[in-house]
């Protein structure tokens, strides 16, 4: 039996609460990695910086190649990606991803927007594939752009990548005609950033869950980084408000402002000028390396990162009640 959907063995610890560097040590070169949430919302940025600092190599990214992923691409940690979106919203295309793809150093394998949701959903449910009509007639099915074999060749554990990108079949049930069989999208490691989490891993998200509630069950190792670790008792008082069960979580790391410069609804808004500076810098290899030196390699602790940004700047990002973001009127 394929162990695709089973937990990966790892060092046994007494508590799930670990330091960021301990958590990131569990990631192996060549792992299939999924970073939680979406574009520049609730991204595990501190975790991405730590991956860069630890010099991970050959990672295969899933779902999107946006703010957090682009930093991994720029730093040379990621070699390939399967997903459906390579932009940082209004800040433009992900600069390092664009540059390295054009130079042939990074291998994107494109699937549809719905494909990433269904792929994560199938992996969450332990199903090898689902059928869909989404992407029929599009270049997602074009053989010339099919890089599935490249992903398989580069993956540390080849079994994580399906033998084929897709298969076609006549729908035997509802007469929908030709449908695409879409393989599950399991991950070796998922890292999710949340506003709060309990010491046993129960986590609570404000706003969109993106695909996080699927990917925590689709990944063999799950790391939660969180703004604040709170007592499990507090979270259990309103279980319907929690989206991530502790049973799915392997490690919990407290990282205040761990999503900066992305936004964390209910905590802080996007640091617009910070992202703008990153995008401008990362268009060239030299600029990208300088940026990484200034904000990642040259920073030896999370406290140092926060102090470098400065308390007054961070305070201006804090969200306003009840809107959970920073309204223009008080910017």
């Amino acid at each position: 039996m394929n162990d695709l959907f089973d937990k990966r063995s790892r060092q046994t610890r007494d508590s799930k609460v670990v330091s960021l560097s301990e958590a990131i040590t569990e990631i192996r070169d060549g792992d299939v990695l999924m970073l939680g949430a979406f574009i520049e919302t609730r991204r595990p940025m501190a975790a991405a910086y730590e991956i860069v600092r630890q010099g991970k190599r050959g990672l295969i990214l899933l779902a999107q190649c946006s703010l957090a992923e682009d930093i991994l691409v720029g730093a040379g940690c990621a070699v390939a990606w399967r997903g459906c979106y390579t932009g940082i919203a209004s800040f433009g295309l992900s600069p390092a991803t664009q540059r390295k793809t054009e130079q042939g150093e990074f291998f994107p394998d494109e699937i549809g927007h719905l494909d990433i949701i269904y792929g994560a959903m199938a992996a969450m449910a332990g199903c090898p594939f689902v059928a869909t009509r989404a992407t029929l007639g599009s270049d997602v099915l074009n053989d010339e752009m099919n890089r599935n074999q490249i992903l398989r060749d580069k993956a540390g554990n080849q079994a994580m990548i399906p033998e084929k990108k897709f298969a076609l079949l006549e729908d035997p049930f509802y007469g929908q005609g030709t449908v695409k069989l879409l393989p599950a999208m399991p991950a070796d490691v998922a890292i999710i950033h949340t506003p709060i989490a309990g010491e046993q891993g129960t986590a609570r998200i404000n706003g969109s869950l993106a695909f996080d509630h699927y990917f925590i069950h689709a990944a063999r190792t799950v790391i939660i980084t969180t703004e604040q670790i709170v007592p499990e008792d507090y979270l259990r008082r309103d279980p319907n408000r929690n989206q991530i069960p502790g049973t799915a979580v392997d490690m919990v790391v407290e990282v205040p402002w761990g999503g900066h410069p992305s936004q964390v609804p209910g905590c802080y808004d996007t640091d617009i000028s910070f992202i703008r500076d990153y995008v401008a810098a990362a268009h060239s290899e030299e600029g990208c390396q300088q940026w990484l030196q200034e904000w990642v390699y040259g920073i030896h602790s999370r406290d140092q990162y926060l102090d470098k940004i400065g308390a007054s700047r961070l305070e201006k990002l804090r969200t306003a009640t009840p809107v959970a973001y920073r309204p223009r009127s008080i910017l």
Binding site: M121, Y174, Q176, D238, P239, N240
Partner: protein, 321 residues
């Protein structure tokens, strides 16, 4: 726009031969008042999907159900659903068994709008035995046959991960989904406490969605904590306020099971005459659900009220035994 209607009006939207799923599970958060109204309106040839427990069994007893496709036909601790058992043994109800996970994966596929999903869960079981495949007969009963799949399942080799033979499970689709919940906004935004069971998925797989709720509240109240809401109002067609609408089952944070009532139901309904007498006493009442509540009596209901922070009635507090 308010979607609030009376229970009678909501149930009138159900047509004979509809494929119907009722929310909750076993005796937890079941739309019992809605099922009783279906019996009162004498719907016929319904095809039940999912489980055949408390409220479903009442519709079977009432002669409303001709076929059932699902995975569980019992009332929890109160034994096998008595009306279903009797009709199944008589051969007067069509049933097609699927696996527990077939049901959840089928509803998940339905909500995602995909035609099927692959799984290994029922391989090697009688769910795949052609001798028990009654899907064709179920289809004959259904008014909208295109809502049911052509085949129960298909086997194929997994082309992706080398998992061997897998079962293709068709999506579960519905004409009507009825859920009973703790709280709903007047436009249909639903908030559930405790297990969602399959309600959040089934509501997206149905052509018509009816929500009965303990309380209808202002939408603006629910929108203050959107992460706490489970079904979007865009999926909901009708909203009905029905206090104690899941009695004699439980509704977490509202009330616990009425155990003597459930016992009496199980004992009464082993024969059709027994069910008919029970229905005369509890369903065919003047004033419908209000008549039902008055007959139960306020003091009896008060003993069932859930105790914070448990959400149920702890044994040491009594309740009804």
């Amino acid at each position: 726009m308010s979607k609030v209607v009376s229970l009678e009006e909501a149930i009138r939207a159900i047509k004979d031969g509809d494929i119907i799923l009722t929310g909750g599970i076993v005796e937890d958060r079941r739309p019992v008042a809605a099922a009783m109204e279906i019996v009162r309106q004498q719907k016929r040839n319904l095809v039940l999907i999912g489980t055949c427990s408390l409220c479903d069994d009442i519709m079977v007893g009432g002669g409303c159900v001709e076929a059932y496709r699902g995975t569980y036909t019992s009332n929890g601790a109160f034994g096998i659903s008595p009306n279903f058992k009797r009709r199944a043994e008589e051969g007067t109800i069509i049933f097609d068994d699927i696996g527990h996970i077939d049901y959840s994966l089928g509803v998940m596929a339905g909500q995602a709008g995909i035609p099927f999903i692959a799984s290994k869960t029922c391989i090697g079981t009688d769910v795949l035995n052609p001798a028990y495949d009654n899907l064709a007969q179920v289809r004959e009963v259904a008014r909208n046959k295109d809502v049911l799949p052509n085949k129960k399942y298909v086997l194929m080799e997994d082309p992706f991960f080398g998992m061997g033979t897998v079962q293709l499970i068709p999506a579960i689709k519905l004409d009507v989904c009825i859920c009973h919940v703790q709280m709903v906004g007047e436009e249909g935004t639903v908030r559930i406490d405790g297990s969602l069971t399959f309600d959040h998925m089934a509501a997206l797989s149905a052509r018509t969605v009816i929500i009965t709720a303990e309380r209808v509240v202002p939408e603006s109240y629910l929108r203050q904590d959107p992460n706490r809401n489970c079904i979007p109002c865009t999926s909901v067609d009708m909203v009905v306020e029905v206090p104690w609408g899941a009695h004699p089952g439980q509704v977490y944070n509202c009330y616990d099971m009425d155990i003597p009532f459930l016992q009496e139901y199980s004992l009464s309904c082993t024969t059709q005459e027994g069910f008919d007498q029970w229905a005369a006493a509890w369903i065919f009442l003047e004033n419908g659900h209000d008549g039902y509540l008055d007959k139960l009596g306020a003091s009896r209901l008060e003993k069932l009220r859930a105790v914070p922070p448990y959400g149920y009635v702890p044994r040491n507090k009594g309740g009804l035994k």
